[in-house]
């Protein structure tokens, strides 16, 4: 029967799941890097506020992508309930949903003391009224500030959980060789943190613009350079895994490595060019912000392309 196999890609989970996986990984990793920076590198109110709220916004938009494509959105209540983990401990979507929800809560609690102290936030009409409530001050001082590091680490653990989950979700589909291998969670996690660093570099260079953050930016650039290098190594091993062996994997390799969007768009412009730009910055430095801003934009675009192409290049083998 095996001689009559047919091979096909899927149209069930397309670009909107790529957006979900991308914003999920990017948002969660942004929160993690922001909080770790604030806890261990430098207390940084602006970075925490920008990082936390843009991270939460990304997680919300990503989750919304999945939500609006559900056949029965009301039934989402079953997976929002944390007890779902006792009923479906083997489902990565169940874990991922809980990671995302708790990541957002811990992110909010971590940022709350900074938010309560922020004069700008207190002047925002509705938000300001909420922040001036006594209960918010008490929550901020008695809980959030008192357990700030614990909350930061809870957010970090959940954030890493979200980033790894985006890969584990695809890994749990056994029919597609491109997805069903241990390299996917690794690749998606590395990519999530690389894009998060790129996003934070954009924030530091274009929004926060504080000269004292120079060493944070250098640290981010160095880390991102290593992450991109790691991503290239993982992709190299992926190529060899796919080129020999399973027919489903081989066909995925043909789809990916013959596509200019993947080759030039993702690997060329999304990885190699920003790697070289950041490497030059690390070794000799740049006179202006433009090369690092360019590299960051390319890394962010590449992060989406990776997930987009992964979704479309998964090949099912059918024995009919």
């Amino acid at each position: 029967m095996d001689v009559t196999m047919s091979y096909t890609t899927q149209t069930v989970w397309t670009w909107w799941i790529a957006v979900y996986l991308y914003l999920g990984g990017l948002g969660a990793a942004t929160l993690v890097v922001t909080f770790l920076t604030d806890m261990y590198l430098k207390n940084h109110r602006a970075l925490v506020l920008w990082g936390a709220f843009s991270g939460i916004a990304m997680l919300s938009i990503g989750s919304l992508m999945l939500f609006i494509h559900l056949l029965d959105p009301l039934a989402v209540l079953h997976v929002i309930n944390p007890l779902v983990l006792f009923r479906q401990p083997h489902s990565w979507i169940a874990w991922g949903t809980q990671f995302i929800i708790w990541m957002m809560w811990w992110g909010l609690f971590y940022a709350l003391p900074y938010l309560v102290q922020s004069e700008r936030a207190r002047r925002v009409p509705l938000l300001g009224a909420v922040l001036r409530l006594k209960v918010m001050t008490r929550l901020s001082n008695r809980c959030c500030l008192r357990f700030h590091k614990t909350i930061g680490w809870l957010a970090t653990i959940n954030g890493i959980g979200v980033a790894v989950y985006t890969g584990l979700l695809l890994q749990s589909f056994p029919a597609v060789a491109l997805w069903h291998n241990p390299g996917v969670p690794l690749l998606f996690t590395v990519s999530a943190f690389s894009t998060a660093l790129a996003y934070l570099l954009l924030l530091l260079n274009l929004v926060i613009k504080n000269e004292e953050d120079y060493y944070i930016k250098v640290f981010y650039e160095r880390t991102d350079t290593m992450l991109i290098a790691g991503e290239l190594v993982i992709l190299f091993s992926f190529f060899h895994y796919m080129a020999a062996g399973n027919e489903s994997a081989f066909r995925s390799a043909q789809l990916l490595w013959q596509d200019m969007g993947w080759l030039i768009g993702f690997i060329g412009l999304g990885l190699i060019v920003p790697f070289l730009l950041e490497l030059k910055g690390v070794i000799k430095g740049w006179a202006s912000r433009l090369p690092i801003v360019t590299a960051s934009v390319l890394v962010l675009a590449g992060g989406y392309l990776l997930r987009h192409y992964f979704m479309y290049a998964g090949v099912y083998a059918h024995p009919w």
């Binding site: 029965d72 039934a75 949903t97 059918h318």
Partner: protein, 204 residues
Amino acid sequence: MTRYAMVIDLNTCVGCNACMAACAMENQTPVWKNKWRTYVHDKEIGSGEDVHRRFFPRLCNHCDNPPCLSVCPTGATYKLDNGIVKVDEALCMGCRACAMACPYDARLEVTHDDVETGREFYGEAYRRSRPSMDKCTFCDHRLEQGLQPACVETCVGSARQFGDLDDPNDPVAQMVARGVARPLMPHLGTRPNVYYIDDLKRRG
């Protein structure tokens, strides 16, 4: 303990699609969108004058290790002790992870619109009330009445046979035990309970 299984003989399937029609009427599937719980693929195999048509019926394989069940976030997909994998439509939120996980392409969407259309198409007897990711149930409601699944009962070439793997006297269990009937893609580790008798060996 009963463990249900189906054997499909590719030598005797004539491609009449009666199984698809019987299943659709029995289980009220959204046929207006060409969505079926069971489907018969029609394929030409060979080259030149040495070509034959193969009809390949496909349905949920009711795996012992079903990936659709392990990925389901709400627990809507569940497994009965007799091996039948089912969907609780009240729990299903329709994320389609089951469709992505299934190597046998056995899941189909039933949307809100399909439920509305189904009421008109199947009339008062229509049982479905909400959307979900639908699938074959081996017609478990018929099994409870001592009947065979609709596709098995209607098959003109007796290409589909249904039985109990735990009954050593059952012809289905014997064909499986002898290796005459084999599962699809066993290397995936899904341990399917639908087995196929190959036609190509007989054709030489």
